[in-house]
């Protein structure tokens, strides 16, 4: 289990109950637990959706889509049952926040799913947990059982006359099933490959029914919005970027860990104050701001605010909140290789550009890093990535292409330094190994 860190700049919303024993349902109740869903039971569906819309809550899974909007796309009438899914497949290297939520506050996820269900008119929800998080699924299972035992789940919840069921489901070890439509395939017992869209899940999702799918952090934020109010939540962050974000700070920082900071917090401050700066007297080379799929920022690009729009303006993405810091001793080629190994391994193989492209990039990078590179490789890697970008069946192909393009463009010199059989100038082990550990 991960140990908790803290910093005075943190605004504890989602992490409020961390370390307070809230896995125990009675303790959770003492900490305002299950009040939000009871409040929601008294509201009509549109009111719930409006509240979430106004809060400025945007998806924490990576894309940052307005959660309230997403819920409003679900048709009111449907012949088939509707569903709410919690995406807890958290597998993006550099990202390790949902696991803390499951570990410390599982009932908040349950409550979030229930409120989502009330908002869209679903009567059941699924909590999908990454396969490797076995110990967390045990916590989650107990939480679900306890909620049933109290009558919070099942028939006639809180005496409201309404029914709601929640099931958990474990993954089998594929990053790709974090992609929403692949997750639905997986839940239906099939191979985890994505679906053709349209139709979108809000209209045709799990078992063909209208479905809302949200990240675990997104859903765990919802009860707090219901209790604290949209206005309060929205004001924590800059316009259109409501609330807080769990930033997973890792790599070459003095105090790595998961910090809950307001949206729009300065990246520079995050590295140098919250994270305690770069240890060992080294300096910053690059930052991956939002999980391994986001284009890296160089040391002189970090004067930005960490909200969806500002990071996008800087040419990258806030993504899943995984902030990976690289100091001047880290080899970018090796880091690019490590990243590509991950995507090559995780590509589901459905479409040509991702299946073949990641494999060629990986093979090329292995040879290149070990000193066998030739000049045209550098252009080829960029050519290949650019030809994958935007043309794959699902965004995993983009996730592999985007960082590669950034590495080659921003650190071309470092690639050139590997040419002509020269040994890697940064042979010392570094962040790439650490990432390897994190992704397992």
């Amino acid at each position: 289990m991960a140990s908790l860190v803290s910093h005075p700049d943190e605004v504890k919303v989602v992490t409020r109950r961390f370390g307070l024993g809230a896995t125990n349902i009675d303790r959770y109740l003492e900490l305002d637990g299950y009040k939000a869903v009871q409040k929601a039971l008294g509201m009509d569906a549109d009111a719930i959706i409006n509240e979430v819309k106004n809060s400025g809550l945007r998806g924490r899974g990576g894309a940052g889509f307005s959660t309230g909007m997403k819920w409003s796309f679900v048709p009111k009438q449907s012949a088939k049952p509707k569903y709410v899914l919690c995406n807890g497949d958290e597998s993006e290297p550099g990202t390790c926040k949902d696991r803390l939520i499951f570990e410390h506050d599982p009932h908040a996820v349950i409550e979030g799913v229930m409120i989502g269900g009330l908002a869209v008119g679903a009567r059941s929800g699924y909590i999908y947990i990454r396969g490797e998080y076995r110990y967390l699924s045990i916590i989650m299972q107990k939480a679900i059982r306890d909620a049933y035992a109290k009558g919070f789940l099942g028939k006639n919840i809180f005496g409201s006359g309404r029914d709601f069921d929640i099931y958990w489901h474990g993954g089998a070890g594929a990053y790709e099933v974090g992609e929403e439509s692949a997750l639905m395939e997986s839940l239906e017992g099939k191979r985890g490959i994505p679906r053709i869209r349209p139709p979108f899940p809000a209209v045709v999702g799990l078992w063909g029914g209208p479905t809302v799918i949200n990240n675990a952090e997104t859903l765990a934020s919802v009860p707090h919005i219901m209790l604290g109010g949209a206005e309060w939540y929205a004001k924590i962050g800059p316009p259109k970027n409501g609330g807080t974000r769990l930033f997973c700070l890792s790599g070459n920082v003095a105090k790595p860990g998961v910090y809950e900071l307001p949206m729009g917090y300065s990246l520079k401050k995050m590295i140098y104050e919250v994270g305690g700066g770069i240890p060992n007297g080294r300096s910053l080379k690059a930052v991956v701001p939002g999980g391994s799929s986001t284009p890296c920022l160089t040391a002189d690009e970090i004067d930005i605010n960490m909200d969806f729009d500002s990071v996008a303006k800087a040419g990258s993405m806030l993504g899943s909140g995984g902030v990976v810091v690289l100091d001047d001793q880290q080899c970018i080629v090796k880091f690019a290789l490590r990243t590509m190994k991950f995507y090559q391994h995780e590509s589901c193989g459905w479409c040509i550009p991702c299946r073949e492209g990641t494999d060629w990039l990986k093979k090329t990078l292995i040879r290149f890093h070990s000193g066998g590179g030739v000049k045209k490789d550098i252009d080829n890697m960029q050519y290949l990535s650019e030809n994958m970008l935007g043309r794959t069946f699902c965004p995993l192909g983009d996730a592999a292409a985007m960082p590669t393009i950034a590495f080659v463009k921003k650190f071309r010199k470092e690639f050139e330094d590997h040419l002509d059989g020269r040994p890697c100038p940064y042979e010392k082990a570094g962040v790439a190994e650490e990432m390897e550990a994190l992704s397992h």
Binding site: A174, E176, R191, G192, I196, Q344, H345, E346, S347, C348, G349, W350, C351, I352, P353, R355, E356, G357, T358, D359, W360, K363, T364, R367, V374, K376, D377, N380, Y383, L384, N387, G390, R391, T392, F393
Partner: protein, 785 residues
């Protein structure tokens, strides 16, 4: 559905709402490249070859998954798009073995064609290619992973099209691999559809691999010679020292009703033609032994003997058994020869359905028979008896895909839990042998209900099924040989009350229907005209015996009392197939025309080496009544078509063959046998000649001359000759057929063939044999008691 108008490359395109962009493009001649898209199979969006630009969309979109919408503006060809396609090919080729010089698909490969079009000739990659060894999955299916481009067509055609679901994908990413259902091998219907649909050489066929290159073959589109469904199959033919060798059967020419479909028999079971036991010389029994002889000698002997018996004992001392696999022209000619020349009505064939009762029941009813194409489009289908998956693979394909693609309602009534029940809206299991009672019940005989109810059904269910069926429109009613005689007419009575209902009577062999239509019966002339009545045949054929002749069992009996002095068997094996004692005809003079020394041919006094349907021209009528052109793929040295042999025997008997084969007109001889269009295209030569009334029929061996007579005299066969020659199937009608005659139910004996058997012919197909062996379940070890 309402129409939608969009613009593609500046052209206005109008197509029904719901049309896929890739299909809409086709209608204006714009071809969007694709690997994974395949019409009528589920969408994949996997190969990314079909990317196009749609205005207002930031990224390129797949034309194969995009549904057209009003006002859409599409660019299908730009530098960006060309580059996208090129790079997809580069990535594919990076891992592709490029063993084109030895690959079976070389020359017919979509990856080659695509590379040619989008020029990904220069390789950017230096890394080693991923390798995996080739695998054999069954006698007919081989898989070479390195060549596979993962388009998933094979997986879908096997699952969605065949409902077999034997193929799947294993592993992920670049390790993804198509895998068979039994770990290292297949247990399936061996249809080869997966091989046919594979755009590259990843799936290859055991029958064809490494045999030849596509450009070294002549491709002849003809009709399958096995079951009664009439699939069009394209034979790949090469010259060989035996005259010719068929090396491949497929349907690259998808112009038949069967479209993409062929079962194992149409695709691989052509190999009997080159079996080493094939007869290539006439044999005459001398001193008890069948001894090679010349054709002249054989015809003289037969002519002399037949004439002798006829003149001494009367024509009624001669029996004639025709074939269910010869052409209509041959069956008609045989029927005519028997009555006119041999003066006998002792004519029969291996009957597998009660067509005379069918014709009688449908008399006067226009549009009452369904074509094979109708089975794919009918809104509802009732199937009583039979197991089409085994016995009528094309019919089963039509039914399955009609249900899948058009949501047709299928009602299945069967004594077995046949596979098609999986597509059925309603499946009723009945006691074995109760099919006839079902017909009676449906026709309103409530008392029949008791006989059809079993533990799984109730009277209420049957009543409600009957009500539902009565409420259907344009229902196709297909039934097996279990229903005959008066039950058959009950069924027709029931169906005729349903608006637009049409029938299919299922018979087992490639030209079973033709044999019946052409009058290979002791008491019926072509078109189901009773021999004892009057018809055009009586006038045209002149003096023919008026009394009904003997059927097959009658002939056997007559032989046993020495009353059958001669027997002429054309392409049939009654001893092998119909449980007739091999000594039954010991005292008769027996002539057999066949490809092999079958159980019947070995007892012959003269055995004549016959050509099979792949070696001759003519027509076949499938079980639905669809008339189709049979085209000659080539000739095997030493054999003759049955047509020619019949004419030669008539000649040897001193008969004026012009009275048998009405020749005349035109300027060239023997065009019918030697013309053969390529790959099932229209035979332009013949079409043009026909259109100008110049089609030459100067030779007495030209089946077209008999086709003229058939079209003129046989009711329902007056279809468009032009369409027929162009390779289209032409549905015949029974509305104007003669009244037929009632036959004993025992005169019908179903072939009971399975997917992997095909009467006597099947014994000589290595492909079918090897598949049967590989499917044989090993008997469990017997426990000691």
């Amino acid at each position: 559905m309402a129409d939608v108008t969009l613009t593609v490359d500046g052209k206005k395109v109008t197509a029904p709402a719901g049309t896929l962009l890739i299909e809409a493009c086709k209608t204006v001649g714009i071809e969007v490249p694709s690997f994974c898209y395949y019409p009528n199979l589920s969408l994949q969006g996997a190969c990314r070859m079909c990317l196009v630009k749609i205005e207002k969309m930031p990224k390129l979109q797949t034309a194969c998954t995009t549904v057209i919408s009003e006002g859409m503006i599409v660019t299908s060809d730009s530098e960006e798009i060309k580059q996208a396609r090129k790079s997809m090919l580069e990535m594919l080729l990076g891992n592709h073995p490029l063993d084109c010089p030895v690959c079976d698909a070389g020359g017919e490969c979509e990856l080659q064609d695509m590379t040619f079009s989008y020029g990904a000739a220069e390789s950017k990659f230096m890394e080693a290619k991923n390798h995996k060894d080739e695998q054999q999955w069954s006698p007919v299916v081989f898989f070479d992973r390195p060549r596979c481009i993962l388009c998933y067509r094979c997986v879908r055609v096997c699952g969605e099209g065949m409902d077999v679901w034997a193929l799947g994908v294993q592993n992920r990413g670049v390790s993804s691999i198509i895998a068979p259902n039994k770990e290292d091998h297949l247990e399936c219907e061996e249809c080869g559809m997966c091989i046919d649909i594979c755009p590259v050489g990843a799936l290859t066929s055991g029958a064809y691999r490494y045999k030849t290159r596509p450009w070294e073959m002549k491709h002849v589109g003809t009709i399958c010679t096995h079951c009664g469904d009439g699939c069009k199959t394209t034979l790949g033919v090469r010259r060989a020292d035996t005259g010719m060798e068929i090396v491949r059967g497929d349907n690259r020419d998808k112009s038949g009703t069967n479209g993409d479909f062929l079962c194992i028999k149409g695709r691989y079971a052509f190999d009997f033609a080159n079996h080493e036991e094939r007869l290539t010389q006439p044999l005459i029994r001398k001193e008890g032994k069948l001894t090679p002889a010349t054709w002249e000698e054989a015809f003289q002997l037969i002519g002399k003997k037949f004439a002798e018996v006829r003149d001494r004992d009367g024509g009624s001392a001669i029996g004639v058994i025709g074939s269910t696999r010869t052409t209509n022209e041959e069956s008609y000619l045989l029927s005519k020869f028997a009555r006119m020349v041999l003066k006998t009505n002792n004519v029969d064939h291996h009957r597998t359905a009660d067509f005379p009762a069918f014709a009688a029941a449908l008399r006067g009813k226009a549009d009452a028979t369904a074509s094979m194409a109708d089975v794919f489009t009918a809104p509802a289908i009732l199937l009583i008896g039979n197991d089409p998956t085994e016995q009528h693979p094309l019919l089963a394909w039509q039914i399955r895909n009609n249900v899948r693609l058009h949501r047709s309602r299928l009602y299945v009534i069967n004594s077995q839990a046949i596979k098609l029940r999986r597509q059925a809206t309603n499946f009723m299991q009945i006691p074995a042998g109760a099919e006839g009672k079902v017909a009676a019940f449906l026709a309103g005989d409530d008392a029949a209900a008791d006989a059809i109810i079993n533990s799984s059904s109730t009277k209420d269910q049957w009543n409600s099924l009957r009500d539902t069926l009565r409420g259907e429109q344009n229902l196709v009613i297909a039934f097996g040989s279990e229903i005959l005689g008066s039950d058959l007419s009950s069924l027709v009575t029931f169906g005729s009350a349903i608006a637009g209902a049409k029938f299919v009577c299922l018979a087992d062999y490639a030209n079973s229907r033709g044999a019946a239509d052409m009058g290979l019966y002791p008491d019926l002339l072509p078109g189901y005209h009773p021999i004892s009545g009057s018809s055009e045949f009586h006038t045209e054929w002149g003096e023919i015996p008026q009394a009904a002749g003997l059927d097959l069992s009658g002939m056997v009996e007559a032989a046993s009392t020495n009353k059958l002095k001669a027997l002429y068997v054309v392409g049939s094996n009654p001893i092998g197939r119909l449980k007739i004692d091999s000594f039954a005809f010991s005292n008769s003079f027996v002539v057999v025309q066949d490809m092999f020394l079958t159980e019947t041919a070995v007892v012959a006094d003269v055995a004549l080496p016959a050509a099979n349907a792949y070696e001759k021209s003519g027509t076949f009528t499938n079980t639905c009544g669809d008339l189709q052109l049979v085209k000659k793929a080539g000739e095997v040295t030493g054999t003759k078509a049955d047509f020619e042999m019949i004419v030669r025997i008539a000649d040897a008997m001193g008969f004026d063959v012009r009275k048998l084969v009405p020749i005349g007109g035109g300027t060239h001889a023997d065009m019918g046998q030697s013309r053969g269009a390529q790959s099932g295209e229209a035979d332009r030569h013949a079409v043009w000649l026909e259109a100008h009334g110049l089609e030459p029929k100067l030779s007495p061996f030209d089946p077209m001359a008999i086709l003229d007579e058939i079209q003129r005299l046989v009711p329902g066969y007056d279809v468009s000759r032009m369409n027929l020659l162009a390779g289209n199937s032409q549905h015949t009608s029974l509305a104007k057929a003669g009244p037929g005659v009632a036959h004993r139910p025992e005169s019908i004996s179903p072939a009971n063939d399975t997917l992997f058997s095909s009467g006597t012919l099947g014994h000589y197909s290595r492909a079918l044999k090897s598949v049967m062996e590989s499917h044989e379940v090993k008997p469990a070890e017997v426990a000691a008691d």
